[in-house]
């Protein structure tokens, strides 16, 4: 069963622990989590008030137009940085209206980055529209890669790993996701590769940066990372005609225990899924493994996005759901390459889409983490193509144990 805890029917009073039937109206207004905002009586609420109200203050920091951050945003807008709409096809100077599920908001994005002419580009680089990919028969059958293709994918995934590591070294409070994107973009170009997300169905940037309640496909923008955030950076590069795709979730400064557990559990979900990969294993079993591990930790699995085949196409067959009881067709065979990329949520599994048409957020505003690898099925098992290198930054405490 999915482990998603749906804002529990039986909440306890934040002060005395008795069953709670009242909640703080300010928290409701700010869309803060109900846990910690529920009380059994007005008296308990009153007694907690002086310490409770600090939650409201923290939530208001990234606010719009009423303090320093707001002024900074209008500076950006006058500099030409605008909010993204319609999947990247248009821009707007004003924050679009939306029933935001959490405290995160989009920020204006920078101008489109240039890719030098000598870089080999996929067919969407100029007009934003993939032509070969949607019509390919590789959407319906899983390709067995030739030794040459496999060798190219090893190289490409190695580059993708190095680019992601460069991004990981940037992670600290005060850095904007736009700056991370710039590092990704420049590192990719320097390696002679193209950043696959750039202009893919009009996606405006060279990587996805997904903070806190963003599940995936977050667009790098002017927002500064804050101490306590978690951020996923998703890198895909295109080199020698093939794509390599990976992502990792990082801690910004000091994160709370719940976030630590969320990220570690997500890492383990991917790890366990990879451990079952070998010829003859059904694609549908990947979801069972991930779901089991996430549920055991009381976390839920995002269902709208899945792992995918990869190679000369960015996304192709097979589709690999991360949830259990799915009807994925087929078994793994040596020579296949695909990604597994579980997205695990602290709260409910449901997702919603921001007005930009890309950013997926949790429906309840709670946090989400993700890890991804591109995998090659070998005769006896699996090869993790963009695996960590000895030089990869030491950012996952559980790996040192």
């Amino acid at each position: 069963m999915d482990g998603g805890s749906n804002a529990a029917e039986t909440l306890s009073c934040a002060r005395c622990g008795k069953p709670a039937s009242l909640q703080c109206p300010k928290c409701v207004e700010l869309k803060l989590p109900r846990e910690g905002a529920a009380f059994c009586t007005q008296d308990c609420f009153k007694a907690s008030w002086s310490s409770h109200k600090s939650i409201h203050l923290k939530a208001k920091l990234p606010s719009l137009g009423t303090d320093g951050a707001g002024e900074q945003k209008s500076d950006l807008v006058s500099d030409g940085w605008l909010y993204c709409l319609r999947k990247g096809q248009s821009r707007t100077p004003k924050l679009p209206p939306f029933n935001w599920t959490g405290t995160l908001r989009p920020y204006p994005i920078s101008f489109k980055r240039i890719v030098p002419a000598h870089i080999d580009k996929p067919d969407w680089a100029d007009d934003g529209i993939p032509k070969v990919e949607p019509n390919s028969d590789l959407q319906h059958r899983v390709e067995i890669k030739t030794p040459d293709q496999i060798e190219r994918m090893r190289e490409t995934c190695r580059i993708a790993r190095e680019v992601l590591d460069a991004a990981a070294r940037m992670i600290r409070p005060g850095v904007t996701t736009d700056e991370i994107d710039r590092v990704v973009h420049e590192a990719t170009i320097a390696a002679g590769a193209y950043p696959s997300p750039l202009n893919y169905h009009f996606f405006p940037k060279s990587c996805c940066t997904s903070v806190n309640e963003v599940i995936c496909h977050g667009i790098p923008d002017a927002r500064k990372l804050e101490d306590g955030d978690i951020i996923n950076v998703d890198v895909t590069v295109y080199y020698k005609g093939v794509h390599g795709d990976l992502n990792e979730t990082y801690f910004v400064g000091n994160v709370d225990e719940a976030s630590r557990k969320l990220v570690q559990c997500t890492y383990e979900c991917l790890d366990k899924a990879i451990s079952i990969v070998k010829p003859g294993v059904r694609f549908r079993d990947v979801g069972e493994v991930i779901n089991r591990h996430a549920s055991m930790s009381g976390l839920s699995v995002v269902k709208s996005y899945c792992g995918h085949g990869i190679g000369e196409l960015f996304h192709c067959a097979p589709n690999i759901p991360h949830y259990g009881r799915n009807k994925a067709v087929g078994v793994m065979k040596a020579g296949q390459t695909f990604t597994i990329e579980p997205m695990i949520n602290a709260g409910v599994w449901r997702d919603q889409m921001w007005p930009d048409g890309w950013t997926a957020v949790t429906a309840d505003g709670k946090r989400s983490a993700q890890f991804e690898h591109t995998l090659l099925v070998t005769e006896t098992g699996v090869e993790v193509l963009p695996a960590r290198l000895a030089s990869s930054p030491d950012v996952f405490p559980w790996l040192n144990k």
Partner: protein, 389 residues
């Protein structure tokens, strides 16, 4: 601001506010557990699809039904939706914007996302009809619409309804008899859950008494599971095509009908097309893992060279008190525990295949072999005897 106050505001009751934020996306179903059924309407041009659609849009049935008119070229997309407003009968034309065809790494096809948006926009939609022009083979559409229950989508594939023209059916079925191409009519009938045999008035007027019955038999020889509804100008009772729940694993009443089937479901005569319905039965319970391997070899590996279009069955699984159902469309299949066997029921495996190049003996034998039962002792003796002599 409230933060500066000494006094806290009045706490509010938890049930006064919505539990989850009001939907800004298409994810939430209209009620917690209700999904809107989607019926795919297919059939030859001129058979009466538009007649059926117009009848449904205009008839006073008290339901809110959206009809999606679709031009399938290379992509499956939604362009235009017409909604019948029920009692008032007014037709509302809506444009539903396609999610820009970005499949990316999403589980739901853009068509499904578009339908969910439609349900989101139009509260209290009772049903959706997807009218397909120029789509010869409904299978890819069924695959896209047959979602995992886990997705808790607000839309759900309800059935495939094929409209055939009684007057021209025989001609259409014979058309490519000698060529390698497959008349669409075979596929559309083979995949149907309901076949509307339209324009029967034109046939009975000209032909003999048994002409309609002959046509029904012709259809049954291809697909004996489908319900056949005869009609004039597609004026049918809507309950015969709505809420069929044909792809529902748990509301398996249509599958349970298999249990009661006394006469044989298998096509008696092999239709010229080579498309037929076959039914196999076995009393002994089977091992679940082995049944999976068996069905996967048939559907995924195309072992025995059989081309299966649809498969429906009831399984008796060893060491389980639950009746399991099996459903498949092309390569997509699922086996689900549906309900407990009732005391008075005789536990049995009964599986129906609709497809091309099916061989009854191969299916029976391979199913038995995979049932993990050792051959009964006396067969060993016979074999032993024969090698001696």
């Amino acid at each position: 601001m409230a933060d500066d106050q000494e006094e806290p505001p009045l706490a509010i009751r938890i049930d006064q506010t919505v539990e989850e934020p009001p939907q800004s996306g298409p994810e939430q179903p209209q009620n917690e557990n209700f999904s809107v059924g989607v019926t795919v309407i297919t059939g030859y041009l001129g058979a009466g699809k538009s007649t059926l659609v117009n009848y449904i849009l205009n008839a006073q049935h008290g339901k809110r039904i959206a009809v999606i008119l679709n031009e399938f070229g290379e992509e499956i997309g939604v362009e235009r939706a017409m909604i019948n407003e029920g009692e008032s009968g007014a037709l509302v034309e809506e444009w539903v914007e396609l999610a820009n065809g970005c499949v990316c790494c999403t589980v739901k096809h853009s068509l499904v996302q578009a339908l969910e948006q439609l349900v989101q926009m139009k509260k209290k939609l009772d049903h959706i009809l997807l009218e397909t022009t120029g789509l010869a083979n409904p299978a890819p559409l069924a695959s896209v619409l047959w979602l995992d229950d886990q997705l808790e989508s607000s839309v759900k594939l309800d059935s495939i309804v094929t409209v055939v023209d009684a007057k021209n059916l025989r001609f259409q079925l014979n058309k490519h008899r000698d060529s390698f191409s497959f008349p669409e009519a075979f596929l559309q009938i083979a995949y149907a859950d309901v076949v509307i045999l339209n324009k029967v008035d034109l046939v009975s007027r000209e032909g003999s008494e048994g002409a309609i019955e002959e046509l029904e038999n012709e259809i049954r020889s291809i697909n004996s599971l489908a319900n056949i509804v005869c009609s004039v100008r597609c004026e049918i009772d809507l309950s015969q095509i709505l809420n069929r729940q044909a792809y529902d694993a748990t509301h398996a009443s249509h599958l349970e009908a298999l249990l009661e089937e006394s006469k044989s479901i298998s096509s008696r005569d092999l239709h010229d097309s080579g498309v037929r319905t076959l039914c196999i039965r076995q009393a002994e319970g089977v091992d679940l893992q082995k049944v999976r391997l068996w069905i996967e070899e048939i559907l995924w590996d195309k072992k025995y060279d059989m081309d299966v279009y649809r498969c429906k069955g009831v399984l008796s699984i060893q060491n389980s008190d639950h009746l399991h159902t099996l459903q498949a469309v092309r390569e997509i299949y699922e086996i689900v525990p549906a309900r407990q066997w009732r005391n008075e029921e005789k536990k049995i495996n009964q599986i129906v295949f609709i497809g091309h190049n099916l061989d009854e003996n191969t299916l029976i034998d391979s199913f038995r072999d995979y049932s993990a039962l050792p051959p009964p002792p006396f067969l060993w003796l016979l074999r032993f005897k024969s090698t001696l002599s």
